[in-house]
């Protein structure tokens, strides 16, 4: 991962592909590094680490959208 401007370049070793991603995606990638979590766990961990307050539903909606993008990029796999 290499930060540029307010975005981050991610080189994905298994595929050899590079993606330009937002800070939220970087935070999720950090969480999912070498472990599997469900969406609730991702939201909980993000809220805790980044001191997010606000509606749980809001966070879940944003995280859900980012996870969909990440699955489409093939940098995470949906296993169930």
């Amino acid at each position: 991962m290499r930060p540029v401007d307010d975005l981050t370049l991610v080189y994905h070793r298994p595929s050899g592909m590079t993606h330009v991603v937002s800070p939220a995606v970087v935070a999720i990638l950090d969480l999912l590094h070498e472990q599997t979590l469900d969406i609730g766990e991702v939201c909980g961990a993000l809220a805790q680490h980044h001191d997010l307050d606000g509606e749980g539903d809001d966070i879940a909606r944003v995280v859900g959208a980012r996870l969909d993008e990440m699955a489409a990029m093939d940098i995470i796999d949906r296993i169930a």
């Binding site: 298994p14 595929s15 050899g16």
Partner: protein, 346 residues
């Protein structure tokens, strides 16, 4: 020594590369690239790297890097296909380069790998096609004749390409076209499977070698024969260590009606690369072997294959083996008409 013989010897006896002149190297590099085997030469040259001239090392290192790129891409295509087909409920059997790579066989070392070839039961084809379409693959051929040709006569779905990555997957349900005179037992091929990583399978050792042998004999004009025969050499050398392998191979060849192509492939591999083959299985050289050997030695030192009459005869033979005569005539006519349309402006 013909230019291709320099390549054959470099593969079979890498030490021979120590003594090559600049002209020999230039010929080896051209012929090696033309046969898509220079990456394999580079892998074979690893132990004597320090002893080779600088100009040769530059080209070999470059080819090694090309091959690494191929293997990275092929590994990822295997990974993505495994994910896409995980819930289809049928065994997915990797074939050719991808199988050698995923199993870690010597045949994969330095080998260029292009399309991903998989074998599935014929009854599962619609489900496999649907799963691939749902995971980003699309039909690569837009031409209706091609589509019809593949579905009706070939042993595979029309090739599909991934719309993001551009990787091509060929889905087979047997190892020879349905039009071919010989009918391998597709069910038994699938039964022979061996589990490997990621929930995938490869063919059993005998069947894997038979598949490669079928390619040597059935690819028109012995096209790519130098490389197919190197695969045969590597597989035979690896599998010969398995107790009872040759007897199992002979039995499987009978079962799949592939005894003749197997013997020919083993004879030719022995001739080119010195493969250790039981005499009973190899049999005797015939006229087709001689035509094939002329073709296998036919490239000049710039890597180009002259169009000789003997090659023409092999071309017609390759197609003859795959198609009934009337269909062959129609197919060749269509190919000839289309060849002009395929050239691109500079």
């Amino acid at each position: 020594m013909t230019p291709p013989a320099i390549l054959h010897r470099a593969l079979a006896a890498p030490e021979s590369m120590r003594g090559l002149s600049a002209d020999d190297w230039n010929a080896l590099i051209r012929v090696g690239r033309a046969e898509r085997l220079l990456g394999t030469v580079a892998a074979r040259a690893a132990p004597l790297w320090e002893a080779l001239p600088e100009g040769a090392l530059t080209c070999l290192a470059e080819e090694r890097d090309l091959t690494r790129g191929d293997h990275l891409a092929a590994g990822w295509e295997i990974n993505r296909a495994a994910l896409a087909l995980k819930n289809v409920g049928c065994p997915v059997i990797l074939m050719k380069g991808s199988a050698y790579l995923h199993t870690g066989l010597a045949a994969a070392e330095g080998r260029r790998i292009g399309d991903l070839d998989i074998l599935v039961p014929r009854a599962a084809l619609p489900a496999v096609e649907a799963a691939l379409l749902a995971h980003g693959w699309i039909q690569a051929k837009e031409n209706a004749y091609d589509d019809h040709y593949y579905r009706t006569w070939m042993h595979e779905l029309p090739p599909m390409v991934h719309k993001e990555r551009g990787g091509v997957i060929d889905v087979h349900h047997t190892i020879l076209p349905l039009t071919a005179r010989l009918k391998p037992d597709a069910g038994a091929l699938i039964e022979s499977r061996v589990a490997v990583a990621d929930g995938l399978f490869v063919l059993g050792p005998a069947e894997m070698l038979l598949h490669s042998a079928a390619h040597v004999a059935y690819d028109g004009e012995f096209e790519g024969g130098t490389r197919n025969l190197w695969d045969i050499h590597c597989l035979a050398s690896d599998f010969a260590r398995i107790e009872g392998f040759w007897d199992g191979l002979a039995a499987a060849a009978e079962q799949h009606q592939l005894r003749t192509p197997l013997s020919r492939a083993l004879r030719l591999a022995r001739r080119l690369y010195g493969t250790d083959v039981p005499e009973t299985l190899a049999g005797r050289m015939d006229i087709v072997d001689r035509l094939a050997l002329r073709k296998l030695h036919g490239r000049d030192r710039f890597g180009h294959q002259g169009a000789k009459l003997s090659d023409r005869l092999l071309y017609i033979r390759g197609h003859w083996l795959r198609m009934p005569p009337l269909m062959l005539a129609q197919h060749l006519a269509r190919k000839a008409l289309r060849r002009k349309a395929q050239a691109q402006p500079v």
